[in-house]
């Protein structure tokens, strides 16, 4: 990362106005103690999403009732699907005497009333601070109720004062690998795919890709159906779908693991857990966004299976390249600000750099992710100038810094909407959350097809703006 490498804002770009807030001061980079309009969510939210991707699982928050309710509301507004999160609903007495009894009672209810086969328990700042030892409580629980048909219990430590929802997500995935896959399974032909926090549409597409290579993947977590299911006759206490427990257990015998996300490549994950304990070969790749990152995934699949890229996928790549030729001039040289989760940021920056958009600022709320280096590595030579990269940023930082860069478009989730509106520039909505548009769960980002979808949407946003801004409203564009 190098501030001097920032592209000079082009002179004919008008200076953009302050969006929304009244602050008019000089911006000197992110140095605030306070957080204004956070660009991250709290740690347990990610865990509840990850647990949602296991068959028969109930996400459970050990904490006060409000946490579960707020997260449910937030997640429902994106997926527009039921999102039940059980809670131990601690009160004042529990905070003093410990939350154990409530946790156990809650687990029993989730087991007996919901019929949970798996319960994923995530902690909150409350229970972390009062020092509840969830691992021990779960052992006690199994002992106390050993006469009952017990659900599989997984727990992950997710204090909201440490990390972001992405840490919660990856932590929960690792916890599931660590705690549910404990024996060496017979060698099988499956491939474990830890796809990270992607959309249900992305998960479905990844399955399709793997199947085209002749692999039946074990995707963890797989909420492609649990958070994007059909209309039903009977309400399902726990939605159908999700990674089956039997699949989870057979991960230790898989041919290989593929883990998506450059930002987690230096940490202990589900993938390293399986390679460390069971010797499952691990491929660590970036999110397959755009051509080169998708090529890397296909190369990995080829090296695992020995199968050449199947024709229908090669055709998708070909069509995408053809579309880039047709549409490149509409987006060439546009300056983009990218924000959101670290790995999504890396993938998006790589995708945008490939199509000739100039990323000028990339920002995430997460810290210590080595984001600049990952972006450099992902983009390689297609990126002529490194963008400014900010970690630990909030939307105050992003907006103030973006103002000095005169961007032509924003790329990220719904929360950049106010800035885009103030500046009258397009916002390409991607990732999570999409709270102000329809179909966020069906947005496709990954693979050549995902790139095609992003490219089509982006070009159309640019054309729409051109048409709307034009006095005569061109009929051909």
């Amino acid at each position: 990362m190098n501030d001097t490498a920032v592209l000079n804002p082009v002179a004919d770009n008008p200076v953009i106005d302050s969006p929304g807030n009244e602050y008019k001061g000089q911006y000197n980079g992110p140095s605030n103690v306070s957080t204004t309009n956070a660009c991250k969510l709290c740690t347990p939210l990610g865990a509840t999403l990850a647990f949602k991707g296991v068959e028969g699982a109930v996400s459970f928050l050990h904490g006060s009732q409000g946490c579960a309710t707020y997260m449910r509301r937030y997640i429902i507004s994106h997926f527009r699907e039921p999102m039940d999160i059980a809670s131990s609903a601690l009160g004042e007495k529990n905070a003093i005497y410990g939350g154990g009894p409530n946790l156990k009672k809650g687990l029993l209810n989730a087991m007996q009333k919901y019929g949970a086969g798996v319960i994923g328990v995530a902690t909150t700042c409350l229970t972390e601070t009062i020092g509840d030892d969830v691992a021990r409580l779960l052992i006690e629980f199994r002992e106390e109720f050993k006469d009952l048909p017990l659900a599989e219990l997984v727990h992950v430590s997710t204090p909201s004062y440490s990390g972001t929802h992405m840490d919660g997500f990856h932590g929960a995935v690792k916890a599931m690998a660590d705690q549910l896959c404990v024996e060496k399974a017979p060698a099988n032909s499956r491939v474990n795919l830890f796809s990270g926090m992607v959309s249900p549409a992305d998960i479905r597409h990844l399955k399709e890709i793997c199947r085209a290579f002749g692999i039946e993947p074990i995707i963890l977590p797989d909420y492609s159906e649990t958070l994007d299911g059909p209309a039903l006759l009977e309400y399902e206490n726990i939605p159908s779908g999700g990674t089956p427990l039997s699949d989870l257990r057979s991960m230790s015998g898989a041919r290989a693991s593929i883990e998506l996300g450059r930002a987690i490549s230096a940490q202990e994950t589900a993938g390293t857990s399986l390679s460390g304990r069971f010797g499952v070969p691990l491929f660590r790749l970036g999110l397959p966004m755009g051509i080169r990152e998708t090529d890397s995934l296909f190369a990995a699949l080829k090296s695992i299976t020995g199968v050449e890229t199947p024709r229908e996928l090669a055709l998708e790549r070909g069509r995408y390249v053809d579309a880039l030729v047709d549409g490149h001039k509409y987006v060439s040289g546009l300056k983009a600000v990218i924000y959101g989760e670290e790995d999504l940021c890396i993938g998006l920056t790589s995708f945008l750099a490939e199509i000739g958009v100039t990323p000028v600022l990339v920002a995430t709320g997460a810290k210590n992710r080595n984001l600049a280096a990952h972006i450099e590595a992902a983009c390689g030579s297609v990126l002529r100038h490194q963008p400014i990269v900010r970690e630990g940023a909030d939307f105050f930082d992003i907006v103030e810094e973006a103002k000095t860069l005169s961007p032509d478009l924003l790329v990220g989730h719904s929360k950049g909407q106010r800035a885009a509106r103030e500046w009258n520039i397009p916002l390409l909505r991607v990732g999570f959350p999409i709270h102000d548009r329809f179909g966020g769960q069906r947005l496709l980002h990954l693979g050549y097809r995902g790139a095609q979808s992003l490219f089509d949407r982006l070009v159309n946003l640019v054309l729409e703006k051109k048409q709307n801004d034009s006095d005569i409203g061109y009929g051909y564009l």
Partner: protein, 490 residues
Amino acid sequence: MTETAKAITPEIIACPDESVAIPVERVAIFDERKDQIHRIGEGAFSMACNRDSLAGAVSQRACVFCGSRVVLYPIADALHLVHGPIGCAAYTWDIRGALSSGPELHRLSFSTDLQELDVVFGGEKKLAKALDELIPRYEPKAAFVYSTCIVGLIGDDLAAVCKAASERHGIPVIPVQSEGFKGNKREGYLAACKAMRTLVGTGDISDISPLSVNIMGDFNLAGETWIITDYLNRMGVEVVAGITGDGRVDDLRRAHGAGLNIVQCSGSTQDLAKMMRDDFGIPFLRVSWIGIEDVAESLYAIAEHFELTRPELAGNMVERTAALVRDELAALMPQIKEYRRDLEGKKAAVYVGGSFKAFSLVKAFRHLGMEVVIVGSQTGTEEDYRELAAICAPGTIVVDDANPLELAAFIKEKDVDVFVGGVKERPIAFKLGVGFCDHNHERKIALEGFIGMLNFAREVHASVMSPIWNFVPRRELQNSKPALNAGEEA
């Protein structure tokens, strides 16, 4: 008045014969919650309420912080700083449709984003610095500092930090004691009222008319406070403060100058109304701005109050009010009739936060010819539910603090056509192929006042009458059944 009132009295919907067999499928999913569910006509009324939510039951409730945040949120020129880890602020960022006619500081989200070290060493310094940063940046009229779960545990002295910041910056910096785990929403309401009470009584009230009110417990969702304000102004009543709809710090400071407090939403601001009654002698009236009778009755009650207490100033306010109601209804009723034609006989479920809304909605549905067969709330009292049971038909399910499993089972049991609720209820109804009307703090359509009744009818109609229900499994099955039945009988 009586004439008008008669004109709007709904026909009482025929009560089903009490001998009608009660559906076989019985829902008592959680034994511990049996006494929080009542079926009208089955045994004596008795319900347990205001209980802690059952662990593991996925309550639709929130927490103390949520209660405080929801009440104070619309105060648009105050800084709302959440002292805690990021989640509590992130999930309440620009979350509601509470409109402001001026500043919009309430639509931003501020947090101290406490980190591990802060938890170990205390967050007071960080809080003080955050205030020093944010107050000069936005120049708010006051700052509310919300305590979250963790602050209650690490022992930060919120009051001391706020007092010092207040002295440094010359604005009120008000602690809101809203640690999430210390109860449910109700305790949060009380904490918010206590915080607002510190402002009330600090402004100049010399120019306020005795014929004046504070509109309490309305949050100006989709401009609803403005609708009510318009009615009041037409009656000759001045509005001093929206508490907290389109709220301002200076209005709160002058709120004690009002002649009357009109309080909607039984829980949220009633505590403040009581404090103002005790401290300033301001009487309060409970009102509801939802439905037809309730809006009319509320307006009449206000007019009658002023005619009684200030006859020399109020003049014929009741008459003016009657004229207003007549005009509004003359425009409204023909349109309602149109919608009713389609909706007659359909069944509705109501599950809302506060029980006052449930009352008004039961009545509102009658105007549409619809029957409410499930009614419940997150935070009603036993008295509320007793009254609800009294106005609903036998067989109606009355439920306190429901959860998705119960709501889904009730929807099926009662075969409802539309569900009125919030974001968390919507996917349950939709998943089962049931229409939905958003009646929550995120709504973008005004549902209060007479115009609100029209919007409500439009909303319900738009959902219930959609052709898409033909394709959901529930209706597909039902639509295929008559043929089968006919075949069987033959």
